[in-house]
């Protein structure tokens, strides 16, 4: 691929975007293709009009994804946008992962950082990739016009075929001529009415390798001379190594080294099983003098006390506090949310080859530029000396976007300490993964409200307490304002319901348990408390929960539309049998709107979710089947929050270790599900996260309908 041209910065084209973000369409294409998708760029000539695609003489179009494919369908969705404006045939399109490059591949919503998260992959790339595809198409058309000596305006492009009258050719045949064309400053974008691929169900680009075992995850990387490392982490957060006796471990054939690193003791061996066996016989004395030693109950007791004091104000409309003080009747409830592990199917891992003056990383890469800088920091290298190969991730749910690059830094310390400069693969066991922290923070909420004479909320007070995800990270300046971590209160401080007196505040105590974003972040808890509490108020007012919400959503038509659609499709208002319950919830996160109606059966103490009807408004649905898949899967993921998932601590030790005691949704828990997409011409927003927070309140409200009981502590487990 060294034929691909590079150009100087002065040759970069600047496109003015509607959002005012300058877009540089660079000509340079990475020489190192991702291992995620085998590239067949063996042709002698390549047309590479910008940083997001290249076309080879064999007529393949390769789209370069700056975002991680972790199941959410980013590779397919991003490629669809390019292929649409290019008028490529879907079958000729391939996708490869982009390297770390803050000049070309930043997340346009994140400022100078490249990464995948916050359900932004499609949303931030929408105009960028449309322009990238349209620019390439325009150059191919110009090339054909020149060859055929006809006006460019008379040339049509469809399904990868460039035509004029009886003449027709392929992209591959035009690449040499296309390379000589000027890059258009303002390529003309399609009228959405002409979309041929966007809005259609197209097959995913990552399916084949994932059904025949050839897809490359980090766990699957095999490199010459590669060693495998496992790490013994301290049993308590904040404990450190006091002494290590590795005499027995070192005698095991295949063990290469035992290394004390800041995060524990690493055993490096020829293969995983050897390394693990050697780790099991290490004798380590830990210094736990500064370790975290509280239990879950201690934490919630502290939360409870903090809720009685003042918090940082996140919203203050009218005077909710005064209204509640003078109210005759106040409805109030305290909610508890446990720590949650991401528990993705692929336990965390990473491969690094340190070569002294440079380093190469293979990883399910979710935070390119931060990870690049953090790994470079360990080696004392400039960030650009660290090459990142983005592979598929076997799930992540936020975990691979770690604010401290924890497992990459751990691997870098091992690679740096190795006597031989060979690739080293860090493998965490399931237990390592589950007990390493970086959980969805535990939270307590206190909701208080009073109703007016019509039963509508007159005042609403929402007080929150939980660790800040952002404090002490590079994101602090942008995401903490006036003591309020946006990720702690999102979903609470933007409550859509029209309530004249509305007050939200938050407290962020510091504990030694590392916490992190978990699919849908703050909404994981705020959607639950707000949507069950509004439901409780509707019941107290003697009103229908859907009608009650709609009356309060007059200024929020997109919330109202998904709520109405879900209710209609679920036959809201029809009879519900004895022992059954039907509940509803609606919530916006990451600018996508989701409503769910859940039907449950209650049998003694146990319950089952039978059916869920989902309505979503995510703007233009680039690939409606992937939107549906994300709604179904996001719902199933969130279902575990109310069914059974919980991390607890006993004197600082994480109690759960594997899927036998950290329970998750399984096949037998999965309800029937149907998804309805609101037709929309709005710019697309994300779908990876927004379904996750909506299911637990919908189920809780259904359980309340069936049993008359309200559920304030998650997980519910039994009614």
């Amino acid at each position: 691929m060294n034929e691909i041209r590079t150009i100087n910065r002065r040759d970069f084209l600047k496109f003015g975007l509607a959002a005012g973000t300058g877009l540089a369409l660079g000509f340079h294409i990475p020489a190192q293709a991702s291992e995620s998708t085998a590239t067949t760029a063996t042709a002698n000539a390549t047309f590479s009009p910008n940083a997001f695609l290249y076309i080879n003489a064999d007529n393949t179009v390769t789209v370069i994804s700056k975002h991680l494919e972790m199941g959410q369908g980013a590779y397919t969705g991003l490629a669809t946008i390019v292929a649409e404006e290019l008028d490529a045939a879907w079958g000729q399109v391939k996708v490869v992962g982009a390297p770390a490059d803050h000049k070309r591949y930043n997340n346009l919503f994140w400022g100078p950082a490249q990464g995948t998260g916050g359900s932004t992959a499609i949303a931030n790339s929408w105009m960028q990739l449309r322009q990238a595809g349209a620019a390439a198409r325009s150059m191919l058309v110009s090339a054909a016009a020149e060859q055929w000596k006809v006006p460019a305006a008379e040339i049509t492009v469809q399904d990868g075929k460039v035509s004029h009258g009886d003449q027709s050719t392929t992209f591959g045949e035009l690449i040499e001529a296309a390379n000589k064309q000027a890059v258009p400053a303002e390529p003309k974008l399609k009228d959405p009415a002409q979309f041929r691929l966007i809005g259609k169900k197209l097959p995913r680009k990552d399916t084949n390798g994932k059904v025949n075992g050839t897809a490359q995850f980090t766990q699957d990387v095999q490199l010459p001379d590669m060693l495998t490392a496992v790490v013994k982490h301290p049993p308590l957060f904040g404990a450190t190594v006091k002494s290590v006796d590795d005499t027995v471990a070192r005698k095991i054939a295949g063990v290469e080294d035992v290394i004390t690193i800041p995060s524990g003791v690493a055993v490096v061996a020829q293969d995983f099983w050897t390394a693990k066996k050697a780790r099991d016989v290490l004798e380590i004395e830990w210094d736990d003098s500064k370790a975290f030693k509280l239990s879950t109950d201690d934490i919630f007791n502290q939360f409870s006390e903090l809720l009685n004091g003042k918090g940082a104000v996140a919203r203050d409309d009218g005077d909710a506090v005064a209204e509640l003080e003078k109210a005759e009747q106040v409805i109030t409830a305290d909610y508890r949310f446990p720590y949650l592990a991401h528990a993705a199917m692929e336990p965390l891992n990473c491969v690094i080859h340190y070569r002294g003056d440079e380093a190469e990383v293979w990883n399910g890469e979710q935070m390119h530029t931060l990870d690049q800088a953090m790994v470079a920091g360990v080696f004392g290298l400039q960030p650009e000396k660290v090459t990142i190969n983005m592979l598929y991730a076997g799930g992540s749910f936020g975990r691979r976007a770690n604010t401290k690059s924890d497992y990459l830094v751990e691997t870098a310390h091992i690679a740096k300490a190795l006597k031989k400069q060979v690739p080293v693969k860090l493998v965490w066991t399931r237990e390592d993964d589950m007990q390493a922290g970086w959980y969805r923070p535990a939270n307590m909420h206190r909701l208080s409200a009073t109703l007016d004479e019509d039963g509508m909320p007159k005042a609403w007070q929402h007080q929150l307490v939980g660790q800040s995800i952002i404090k002490g990270t590079p994101f602090e300046p942008a995401m903490i304002k006036n003591g309020v971590d946006h990720t702690s209160v999102e979903g609470a401080n933007n409550l859509p319901y029209q309530i004249p007196n509305l007050y939200v505040d938050t407290r962020s105590p510091e504990f030694g348990i590392p916490v992190q974003w978990w699919r849908s972040v703050g909404s994981t808890h705020t959607a639950y408390s707000t949507e069950t509490f509004i439901d409780e108020l509707a019941t107290k007012a003697g009103k229908d929960p859907v009608e009650y919400r709609l009356a309060l959503l007059k200024d929020h038509p997109r919330h109202a539309a998904v709520l109405k659609l879900a209710a209609e499709k679920a036959n809201w208002g029809s009879d519900v049998a004895e022992g059954k319950g039907r509940g509803v919830a609606v919530h916006e996160s990451f600018k996508s709107y989701v409503a769910m109606v859940a039907d449950v059966s209650v049998d003694g103490n146990s319950f089952k979710v039978d059916k869920v009807v989902i309505a979503v408004d995510c703007g233009v649905a680039v690939n409606p089947d992937i939107v549906k898949a994300q709604m179904e899967g996001g719902m199933g993921f969130g279902l575990a929050m109310i069914l059974n998932s919980e991390i607890t601590l006993d004197k600082g030790r994480v109690v759960q270790s594997n899927y036998h005691d950290y329970l998750v949704t399984r096949m037998s828990d999965m309800p029937d599900v149907e998804v309805h997409i609101v037709p929309s011409a709005e710019a697309p927003t994300g779908v990876g996260e927004p379904a996750t927070p909506v299911i637990a309140p919908a189920v809780a409200n259904a359980l309340a309908a069936a049993t008359g009981k309200r559920f304030y502590n998650l997980p519910v487990r039994q009614v």
Binding site: K210, Y392, T429, R430, Y659, V664, M667
Partner: protein
């Protein structure tokens, strides 16, 4: 040295007899389609067939597999159930990490029960965790494969 027959090919692997079959397959035979998920037979990502029966390779010592036929995701397409499942699985996959195990469990189910009910599917597949929660589509995929096979 342990002699293994995997997908019809013979392997001589230099591993200790107590090594889990999973790690012999992945680290020594270099067939990486079979996945490591939990190490304790709790998630099903490592499912392979031993003489046609589904087993969790993470908790099966390699010595038990000697003299038997091991089938992995790389070889399941050679069976008629595996081939059809792979053909109809397009809409199922998300991150894909658990799908090797899902397909191996589904192939074993269909071999023993060509027309499974939803309950049969739930019972056979509930040991296979999918954190993307593709369960709804796994169920539909198995029904689609059953229909195509009949």
């Amino acid at each position: 040295m342990i002699k293994l027959s995997i997908n019809g090919s013979e392997y001589q692997l230099d591993v200790a007899p107590d090594t889990p079959l999973l790690w012999a397959i992945r680290d020594h035979a270099k067939l990486t389609g079979t996945k490591f998920g939990c190490g304790s037979a709790l998630c099903g990502a490592c499912t392979v067939h031993l003489d046609g029966q589904p087993i969790r390779s993470c908790s099966t010592p390699v010595s038990i597999a000697e003299g038997k036929n091991v089938t992995t995701i790389e070889g399941i397409g050679e069976t008629k159930e595996g081939q059809v499942i792979q053909e109809v699985w397009d809409d199922v996959v998300q991150c894909g990490y658990c799908q090797s195990g899902q397909i191996m469990s589904a192939a074993a189910l269909l071999k023993g029960n060509p027309n499974p009910s939803d309950t049969d599917i739930d019972n056979a597949m509930t040991g296979n965790v999918c954190r993307c929660n593709t369960y709804h589509r796994v169920r539909k995929g198995i029904h689609a494969a059953a229909k195509k096979l009949s």
